[in-house]
């Protein structure tokens, strides 16, 4: 048997087993009737269902945009991340100074001649993250190594002048960096990141 759709047209047959929702059993004859719904063609009602669900779905998805993006850095946080200037003149030979930019510690390392030579005379091909020392300093400013003092493993602050390379050592999970900030041992995958910076003069840099 078939039930006609509201608009009188025959629809695709949807058979359901007896006992489930639409079926019933004829007590006298003991036979089972099966309700069928028919819809051979999509109807205007089908279109309305799909259109309504689509509008609701797009609306719900659009609502997620503000709910998710509110968690990104707000305007004041971004404004507070403006560039900073660092005066290099008081930093002695071999001294490492820590400054903060965007809540991140920036190490400014005034490297000694010995440190520079050691950093330059490394077989780059053997490094986990191969990078020559020259790519990690500004040309003509070999003695100034400026890097973000955040371990590339899980974000701890490495300690300067520690570890076998007299560079940086991360106390959390044992990553060792050389004076160029390149990863040498331990679980960290990458060299210490370099912040964007430029030399305003020989004794002044702008970070950011």
């Amino acid at each position: 048997m078939s039930v006609l759709g509201g608009d009188g047209r025959t629809r695709r047959e949807l058979t359901q087993p007896a006992g489930a929702g639409c079926g019933w059993t004829d007590g006298q004859k003991g036979t089972t009737h099966v309700t069928t719904m028919s819809s051979a063609e999509p109807t205007r009602r089908d279109f309305l269902y799909i259109a309504t669900a689509s509008v609701a779905g797009i609306g719900a998805a659009a609502t997620l945009v503000p709910l998710i993006t509110q968690m990104n850095p707000d305007a004041s946080t971004i404004a507070a991340g403006a560039p900073i200037e660092v005066d290099l003149s008081p930093i002695a030979d071999g001294q490492v100074v820590k400054v903060f930019w965007r809540g991140k510690p920036i190490y400014v390392n005034h490297r000694t001649k010995k440190q520079i030579e050691e950093a330059q005379n490394v077989d780059v091909a053997k490094l986990p993250d191969p990078q020559p020392d020259s790519a990690r300093v500004k040309p003509g400013h070999d003695q100034w190594q400026v890097l973000i003092g955040i371990c590339t493993h899980l974000g701890c602050i490495p300690i300067a002048h520690q570890g076998p390379y007299d560079g940086y050592f991360c106390p959390c999970h044992g990553s060792v960096y050389d004076t160029s900030g390149r990863i040498r041992q331990g679980p960290a995958p990458l060299n210490l990141a370099l912040p964007p910076y430029e030399f305003l003069s020989d004794t002044k840099i702008k970070i950011g």
Binding site: M71, G81, L154, P171
Partner: protein, 422 residues
């Protein structure tokens, strides 16, 4: 079950109520007449203990929230103010902090009990998976709560754990910035952790509701691992399970109170009494004891992405346990080989916890790798293979047979003991 009387409201009010909101009947059928296997041992009381601990954490937590300030400049001081100035603040905070440890202790015992007696096997897979979801939720909640006092360990735990997401290729850094709400862990991070730390316990309570619902659908497993067949295999929840649960809960609370009143900082870390300092990482940072096994797995693998994946997999793999264990025998009582591998697994988990508290160097790393290998091999190799080759012992025909005749087969069904008639 048919033998247990149905709910008969005693008062006119409850009769009136029952026809409108049958809550009396629901409580009666769930916690009074509910049939429990008669052979349940004390390992089965930890579900009740966990429910109690969730209540303790919510009550003390809501009260602490009345005095706490979620701001980087005030959070540490407000916690100290709770300790020194707020009436009974010291008690409430120590209950909450040690309560987290007790919660995890009970959760791990509950989990190991499920593994020993095969409680995850058909038809209890969904019940088990809900339990794994609960474990994930309490791990997240505990972590965010630990950040709130804003001490050195709080700050660096937040930094290390959020940085786990930076291991994700391409989008990792953006996700971490999004989690922080800044370019580093800061005030927005503390604020959102506070919000979520308040929210998640109620999510946990909801999932606990599903967990209990699923439990009452399939019934409790039991030490014999065979399903109750007749009425004499079960006893009523009240008084039998109620009394047993209450007794062990009292013992558990004595231990809880011992920690709170005598060694309240034993499980904590002294560095967390130093205010957070983004410029200095403590020399030796470790998570709370209940995360140490996972932390050891993270550090055992000398590759960032793989280490983070192993950390996640070590928890998620539990959800697949019902399908990894191919044995049809539930209880380890009747699985002599599985029993041995299980206890090695327990020792490995405790060993990983100990290794997680040690610095990542030398032999500590070596053993962490061996133990991590066993941890995963247990799930991915031992359990699937063992189920096919193990010679299991003969199962008892029924629970009452295993109890009354110590597992020896009985010819005719034993007469129902008086205690089973409720």
């Amino acid at each position: 079950m048919s033998g247990h009387p149905s709910y008969q409201p005693q008062s006119a009010f409850m009769r009136w109520m029952e026809r409108r909101l049958p809550i009396g009947g629901l409580i009666y059928s769930s916690f009074v007449a509910y049939p429990t296997p008669r052979n349940l041992n004390y390992w089965w009381t930890f579900g009740g203990i966990l429910a109690f601990m969730l209540g303790v954490q919510i009550v003390t937590g809501v009260v602490l929230a009345m005095h706490y300030t979620p701001h980087v400049d005030y959070a540490f001081d407000s916690v100290e103010q709770i300790m020194r100035d707020v009436n009974y603040g010291w008690l409430l905070r120590y209950l909450h902090a040690n309560g987290a440890s007790m919660f995890f202790l009970a959760a791990y015992i509950h989990l190991f009990r499920g593994m020993y007696y095969g409680s995850y096997k058909e038809p209890r897979e969904v019940l088990w998976i809900l339990g794994v979801i609960l474990l994930l939720l309490i791990i997240m909640t505990g972590f965010m709560g630990y950040v709130l006092p804003w001490g050195q360990m709080s700050f660096w735990a937040a930094t290390v754990i959020t940085n786990l997401f930076s291991a994700i290729p391409l989008v990792g850094e953006s996700i971490v910035t999004w989690l922080w709400g800044g370019f580093a862990v800061g005030n927005p991070t503390l604020n959102r952790f506070y919000s979520l730390h308040y929210l998640l316990p109620f999510v946990i309570a909801g999932v606990v509701g599903l967990h209990i619902w699923a439990l009452h659908m399939v019934g409790q497993n039991n030490p014999a691992g065979v399903e109750p067949k007749t009425e004499q295999d079960t006893v009523a929840f009240t008084p039998y399970a109620t009394i047993k649960d209450s007794f062990l809960l009292a013992v558990f609370c004595i231990m809880f109170a011992w920690f709170v009143f005598y060694i309240p900082n034993f499980l904590g870390h002294p560095d967390n009494y130093i205010p957070a300092n983004p410029a200095v990482t403590p020399m030796h940072i470790v998570p709370e004891w209940y995360y140490l096994p996972f932390y050891a797995i993270l550090r055992a693998i000398p590759n960032k992405l793989l280490g983070v994946m192993a950390l996640g997999a070590s928890i998620l793999i539990l959800a697949f346990l019902p399908w990894l264990d191919t044995s049809r025998v539930r209880s380890a009582r009747y699985r002599p080989a599985y029993r041995q591998f299980f206890w090695v697994f327990v020792i490995v988990c405790i060993g990983l916890g100990w290794l997680g508290s040690k610095p990542p160097e030398g032999n500590y790393v070596l053993f962490a790798r061996i133990f991590t290998a066993y941890y995963f091999a247990f799930f991915l190799v031992i359990l699937p293979v063992l189920g096919k080759i193990e010679r299991t012992k003969a199962l008892p025909n029924s629970i009452s047979e295993s109890v009354l005749r110590e597992g020896k087969p009985i010819g005719a069904p034993a007469p129902p003991p008086a205690s089973a008639k409720v």
